[in-house]
């Protein structure tokens, strides 16, 4: 590269990047936001307050309360925590899941994962200082009066377990069981009068089988703990009364791991709805933000050089072409800085949430030619406009129509991502200023874009890029020395013919 072009580019890069505005706006701010997004959940997690006080239990079943209480006594919580601190979690889980037997082998990974998560949560549990009062007989309890005491803060909570808590089966489950039974038997027995599921009777309308009354000062995690232990106690007592093997039930209820796979030439690809949508959007936004930041700076510096009249002083040393090329390359480096910075942050975020597999390194590399294209398209437009106008206000008027074309892939990202090989996406890929953005969207999806289309869009894109550069060189040469009337598109066309 020509040394003058290099010097112009270097100055352009340094005067853009080494400013407080850039460091704050483009680097520090995103870093801070990114950092906070990770740090805040971690900070909040540790703030579960310790519960001190009395919990009154009104147990109409007469069977749940002891189990519930035993799970929450200070001694139990302490022992549990101590045990969890010392035991080898993996070994412990291994031992429990061994009881599953070979038939239930399939459920092992999920049971292990659930176990790990549960243990993790219990380890973080504060040591609550709770004392319990189990009112017997339950009929002697005055619920309204107890609620009043909760409101006044005299007791922490009232746990009211209704009489049918162990036997009641919710209406929708009854309906479900009935219709399943009639469907399965109906074909064989021809029974016409199988009772239908009670329509209109929804779960939400049912009376709850147990209520925990607390006042507003209770932390959600703590009321969550109470309801979780209560639910556990009710389920356990149900199993005992109905003689169900808890472990077997657990195995039967474990949701199977169902995977949706796309069958492609290169094998099967995991399909995930959310990542299918968001990864391509992230790809394009990365391209969009980085190239537009560079382009925007190019516009600003060009207008600045023009209005401060330093431009012709520079032309005493360089040719207009060297100046333009230097500026474009300098801002290209700015855009690349942004791209790498944000891409690194993105990859970092994916690592944090164990989602690295969503982005294939090959695709990241394929984005490179499209980045170059995208940047040159935008840089050329900005350089043309910046050289032609006298001030920012005039630039806005010229940028409107140009932005519409380039904004299109941003507005139409949904349909493109949903059918990346559909006719709209395919055609838009071959319309030059949109090419790189549409292709970034398409490549971001998990579908296979035909190779010929990648090759053809790169060829067409680069050809169009050269035309853009050629046009810009002509407009730039004349524009930078023009002062006065704000130009319109016709003026720019005339300059192209003139130069």
């Amino acid at each position: 590269m020509n040394s003058k072009t290099f010097l112009v580019g270097l100055r352009e890069y340094r005067s853009t990047v080494m400013t407080k505005a850039f460091i704050l706006g483009a680097i520090v701010l995103p870093l801070v936001i990114w950092g906070l997004a990770i740090a805040i959940p971690l900070l909040i997690k540790d703030e579960i307050p310790v519960m001190h006080g009395k919990v009154v239990v009104v147990d109409e079943t007469g069977m749940v309360a002891p189990m519930f209480i035993s799970q929450l006594t200070p001694e139990f919580l302490r022992t549990q925590k101590e045990q969890l601190a010392t035991i080898d979690v993996e070994k412990y889980l291994e031992k429990t899941t061994a009881a599953l037997g070979s038939k239930a082998e399939f459920a092992r990974p999920l049971v292990l994962a659930q176990g790990r998560r549960a243990i993790e949560k219990m380890r973080d549990q504060p040591l609550h200082e709770l004392e319990f009062e189990n009112i017997t007989p339950p009929s002697s309890a005055n619920i309204e009066q107890l609620k009043e005491q909760v409101r006044a803060g005299e007791i922490l909570a009232v746990v009211h377990i209704k009489a049918d808590a162990l036997t009641h089966i919710s209406a929708w489950l009854t309906g479900f069981i009935r219709s399943a039974a009639s469907g399965a038997l109906g074909g064989a027995a021809g029974s016409a009068d199988a009772p239908a599921a009670p329509e209109g009777e929804e779960k939400s309308k049912e009376e709850p089988r147990a209520v925990i009354y607390t006042n507003r000062t209770m932390h959600v995690d703590n009321s969550g703990l109470l309801s979780e232990r209560l639910s556990g106690a009710i389920v356990a007592m149900r199993m005992i009364t109905q003689e169900v093997d808890a472990l077997k039930a657990q195995v039967a209820m474990t949701p199977p791991d169902i995977s949706v796979r796309n069958v492609t030439e290169t094998g099967e690809i995991e399909s995930n709805e959310v990542s299918n949508m968001l990864v391509p959007l992230a790809f394009m936004m990365l391209l969009w933000i980085s190239t537009f930041t560079g382009g925007q700076y190019l516009l600003t510096t060009t207008i600045e050089e023009k209005s401060s009249k330093v431009i012709e002083v520079l032309l005493s040393a360089t040719s207009p072409m060297q100046l333009m090329t230097g500026k474009i390359l300098g801002q290209g480096a700015v855009a690349l800085t942004m791209l790498l910075l944000y891409a690194a942050m993105g990859v970092g975020a994916l690592r944090q949430f164990d989602l690295e597999h969503l982005v294939e390194p090959m695709k990241m590399l394929l984005v490179a030619p499209y980045f170059i294209m995208a940047f040159f398209f935008i840089a050329c437009m900005m350089a043309s406009i910046g050289s032609a106008v006298n001030e920012m206000r005039e630039a806005q008027a010229l940028m409107g129509p140009v932005m519409m074309i380039v904004m299109l892939p941003l507005l139409a990202w949904m349909p493109i991502v949903k059918s990346p090989n559909g006719s709209f996406a395919t055609i838009a890929s071959f319309v030059p200023p949109m090419t790189p953005f549409v292709m970034a969207l398409r490549l971001g999806t998990n579908q296979v874009i035909p190779f010929w289309q990648i090759a053809a869009t790169i060829v067409i894109g680069f050809a169009a890029m050269l035309v853009f550069i050629w046009l810009t060189a002509k407009i730039f040469r004349i524009g930078i020395l023009m002062h006065g009337k704000a130009p319109n598109f016709m003026t720019l066309l005339r300059w192209v013919r003139q130069a």
Partner: protein, 315 residues
């Protein structure tokens, strides 16, 4: 190589406006030339073509023996009329940057920037931002930026605008010094007496065409004065200059007369006659100022059908 710049038959149009029309111009190496013309005459366009910022529609330009300034930009110092600095950049940084752009290496560029700032009495601004400087100081920084790379050919477009008399004098001396070091200097101005004071050669263009291309002495000879200035003594109320032989008319300006002579009159004879007839405080044959020449050329120029420029001398 005897011509620093050689312009042959150059024409440049913008749309339907002809800025420069069939211009021929030769700037001899080592000369100090003034490039004159009224506003909009085509001076800046010509200079921009010399600098390869614009390209001529027709004709050829050779600069320092090369067909285009692009190849010799590092040997040319150019101070454009439309000039400015990066407002946020530090003065020293700006000068170093400009020097480096013109091929001076980094360390040398910084050293030269410091030296030049000292030379133009701006030794304390090296670390200041350009926007902190006054307009005059900025002008000096600009001049330094245009010559910091020690060029052989220096083109200054309106170099004196914005300078106070002290700095104008300094700039004038600088131009003289550079010229005596053997550098070819061409500067444009519309302030004619400056050109008169400095240049040894004058080009004048008007409406894109050359109307004058000569040395100062030869111009003075060609535009032979036909005016005498006379100031009579206090008692000379009876002095009537219009009565002398060969005088067309006389105008009184305060206590002086401006006496216009007939074409065939001998100024020396008229002056002798005046001195013999009355007490005079002052009598002089007026030197034609460039301003007179300029006004005469511009007002009297018409382009004949053959395309040649005729100078019609206003009587």
């Amino acid at each position: 190589m005897d011509a620093a710049i050689e312009i042959r038959g150059v024409t440049k149009t913008f749309g339907d406006k002809t800025a420069v029309d069939e211009l021929d111009l030769v700037v001899p190496t080592g000369s100090l030339c003034g490039f004159l013309g009224p506003n909009g005459a085509g001076k800046s366009t010509t200079i921009r073509m010399v600098m390869s910022i614009f390209f001529p529609d027709r004709g050829s330009i050779s600069v320092l023996g090369r067909p285009s300034a692009v190849e010799s930009k590092d040997r040319i110092g150019y101070l454009p009329e439309e000039r400015g600095v990066y407002r946020k950049m530090r003065v020293g940084e700006f000068l170093t940057y400009m020097a480096r752009l013109k091929g001076v290496d980094a360390g040398e560029a910084k050293r030269r920037a410091e030296n030049w700032l000292n030379r133009v009495d701006l030794s304390d601004v090296f670390r200041k931002r350009c926007e902190e400087l006054s307009k005059g100081m900025n002008q000096k920084v600009q001049v330094v930026a245009s010559i910091i790379h020690n060029p052989d050919l220096i083109i200054l477009d309106e170099p004196f605008t914005g300078l106070d008399p002290v700095n104008t004098k300094m700039a004038r001396e600088l131009i003289h010094d550079l010229n005596s070091e053997g550098k070819t200097i061409i500067f444009s101005t519309h302030v004619l007496f400056q050109a008169e004071q400095i240049c040894d050669r004058i080009f004048m263009i008007h409406r894109g065409r050359k109307v004058l291309d000569d040395t100062i002495e030869s111009i003075r000879r060609r535009f032979d004065p036909r005016t005498i200035l006379v100031r009579p003594a206090e008692n000379g109320a009876a002095f009537r200059p219009q009565d002398f032989e060969g005088v067309v008319r006389a105008e009184k300006r305060r206590d002086e007369y401006e006496v216009y002579l007939r074409e065939d009159a001998d100024p020396t004879a008229v002056m002798r006659a005046m001195m013999n007839s009355a007490d005079l405080r002052k009598i002089e044959l007026r030197q034609p100022s460039l301003e007179d020449v300029f006004v005469r050329l511009v007002e009297g120029t018409r382009i004949s059908e053959s395309g040649a420029v005729e100078v019609v001398e206003a009587a």
